[in-house]
Amino acid sequence: MKRIAAIFLVGLGLAGILLAQGVLSITGAGATFPFPMYSKWFDEYHKKNPNVQINYQSIGSGGGIKQVTEGTVDFGATDGPMNDEQLKAFQEKHACAVLHFPTVLGAVVPTYNIPGVTGSLNFTPEALAGIYFGKVTKWNDPLIADANKGVKLPADDIIVVHRAESSGTTYVWTDFLSKVSEEWKNQVGKATAVKWPVGLGGQGNEGVTGTVKNTPNSIGYVELIYAESNKIPYGNVRNAAGVFVKASLAGVTAAAAGAAKSMPDDFRVSITNAPGKEAYPISSFTWLLIPSKISDAAKRDAIKGFLSWMLSDGQNYAEALSYARLPKEVVAKEKKALSNIQ
């Protein structure tokens, strides 16, 4: 018994030492929304470059910002760009800036579960803001019914579901609501975690999806891919041009196209409620957060190598996973920005 234990322990120790040879390990953490995309990318990149392992953990956008600022991870990822205060905090801690690199585009959709309603409901921004404010309490409220003539909506209470924990998805959703409702902007604001006026919390996109699926007369917001994988109904949202658009990759790309022309140099831009007839109004870029100075030369080269691969070959994997690719202009701009990483 003792001998077996000793052999086992020695074996573990050896395994620990041997496996440590030769592999460059890079750790990143952040948004859960692009996790399917990133896990595919890092896997593919590892297959092409076996000595580079990029380990990405989806701990949430806020986590990505926090940990990259603390310096405990090599890069972060977020669905909501860092605000000026957070940028300053990073600058103070690291004596260099943090760079945002958009990777893909995604959409947040309103999903619901109303007994008897199988098609896609139309939601005006006022209806969504009213529902999440707790002012629109019944499904047959005129704000909803007027946009859905011909659909029989029940007179039941709406059960609102939101994310329990901090999340980039919440950031995109509240960013949209802040743009379309002055009241929301002043009283609730946009952030990865807010003080919700009403509603239940679900853990993760999956928690919200699960709660909506199992609770009649409920509404929640989730990433497009989660709605599609779980085959739950989601509604059309009226965009800034007055058209009711159902979330799709084309709609998201249309929303980004407008922004591409006026993209700021630091890539921090919000594309919710974007102009254009085909634009889906609750779209967002998602970003990788890379420190502008990386002292470890091997890591720096590996990260830059990954980023240029991501901007060229990597984009081809996006559509299969229900993410929209970056517009060409943005890709070109990013390729030039790569030289900022030193």
Binding site: I59, G60, S61, G62, G63, I65, K66, T69, E85, Q86, D157, I159, A164, E165, S166, S167, V188, G189, K190, A191, T192, A193, V194, K195, W196, G199, L200, G201, G202, Q203, G207, G210, T211, N214, T215
Partner: protein
């Protein structure tokens, strides 16, 4: 139970008057020092933990002071933080858990200690102890997939139908909420109540039982009216220990409580608890005040457990001094 000091014959005139260095040579003093260091490290670690929690929550303590305990607002955007809904949620879910687990647990312990034959009692105890070893993540998953639908579709509508006039059962039946979290917690803490209570009941001296039976009481009467009261403080001690576990339970609760910081008299309402909100938000809390407020919540929970542990120790010490023998900890 202090160890007896033994005089080791080693040549000096009187045991206590040997110099430090010569005692050191014996090896005993080294042993004493080394083991003391390890024991002291336990105290140091605990003290360090409290210190870290205290330091790590400096900002909200200065900014909010005692208002932290009077506000129900938790607003990460506008930097308003109040602990009240979480303290409420922690206490309510633990109370519900105890209300369910204590009668069931003590009942089971009485059965195992007094009424079951020894072999059966040991076998059942073995399985019940295994229940305590189930990881809390799994309890959370079972909570989501089994308890929540059961609550939403079965139990909660029944409660509303028959007891809906009470403020305890008002509001829609979501399935998630205080009641569900309390039920899941109850399942998790029952093994602790059963194990410890059974030990304490087993340690009640035989003469107590025999005296009762000699005076003509029935089996049940001797158990309920003599043995259990004798072990009363120890059993209460076990309840406090189970409560300490319930207060700090994180994963299972955060998956079924609804994560809504509200204070509501209704058990059907969703809520939140201290451990649950720390688990949900700590990883992503950006901003010093936000992060430190979460740490202050951790401090509050630590204090709650501190007080309860103290009470439990006191109870158990009282039982020991009354001669029930095992002096359990």
């Amino acid at each position: 139970m202090a160890t007896t000091t033994t005089i080791v014959p080693s040549g000096g005139p009187v045991a206590g008057s040997r110099s430090f260095l010569s005692r050191l040579r014996d090896g005993d003093e080294i042993a004493r020092l080394i083991t003391f260091l390890f024991a002291a490290s336990v105290v140091l670690i605990t003290a360090l933990l409290v210190y870290e929690l205290w330091q790590g929550s400096a900002l909200p303590r200065h900014q909010f002071g005692l208002n932290f305990f009077r506000t129900s607002v938790w607003d990460p955007v506008f930097d308003q933080f109040g602990a009240l809904p979480f303290i409420y949620g922690t206490l309510v879910t633990s109370a519900v858990a105890l209300l369910i687990a204590v009668p069931l647990g003590i009942g089971a312990a009485i059965f195992l200690a007094e009424l079951a034959p020894l072999r059966l009692s040991d076998t059942l105890e073995f399985f019940i102890d295994l229940l305590a070893a189930v990881p809390s993540v799994i309890y959370g998953l079972l909570g989501i997939f089994i308890v929540v639908p059961l609550m939403r579709n079965g139990i909660q509508p029944q409660l509303k139908q028959y007891l809906g006039f009470l403020p305890l059962f008002k509001g829609p039946a979501y399935g998630l909420g205080f009641l569900t979290a309390g039920v899941v917690l109850a399942i998790m803490i029952i093994p602790y109540i059963i194990s410890v209570s059974r030990e304490i009941l087993l340690s009640v001296p035989r003469d107590q039982r025999e005296a009762a039976l000699a005076l003509g009481s029935t089996r049940w009467e001797s158990t309920w009216k003599v043995v259990v009261p004798f072990a009363r403080t120890g059993i209460i001690g076990s309840v406090f220990l189970a409560l300490a576990r319930a207060l700090g339970e994180t994963m299972a609760v955060t998956m079924v409580i609804g994560n809504t910081p509200v204070i509501s008299p209704s058990l059907l309402s969703p809520g939140d608890s201290i451990a649950s909100v720390i688990a949900s938000q700590f990883k992503e809390a950006t901003g010093e005040l936000y992060t430190q407020s979460l740490i202050e919540l951790g401090l509050v929970l630590f204090l709650l457990t501190f007080i309860l542990n103290g009470l439990a120790r006191l109870m158990i010490v009282i039982t020991s001094q009354r001669g029930s023998g095992t002096g359990l900890a």
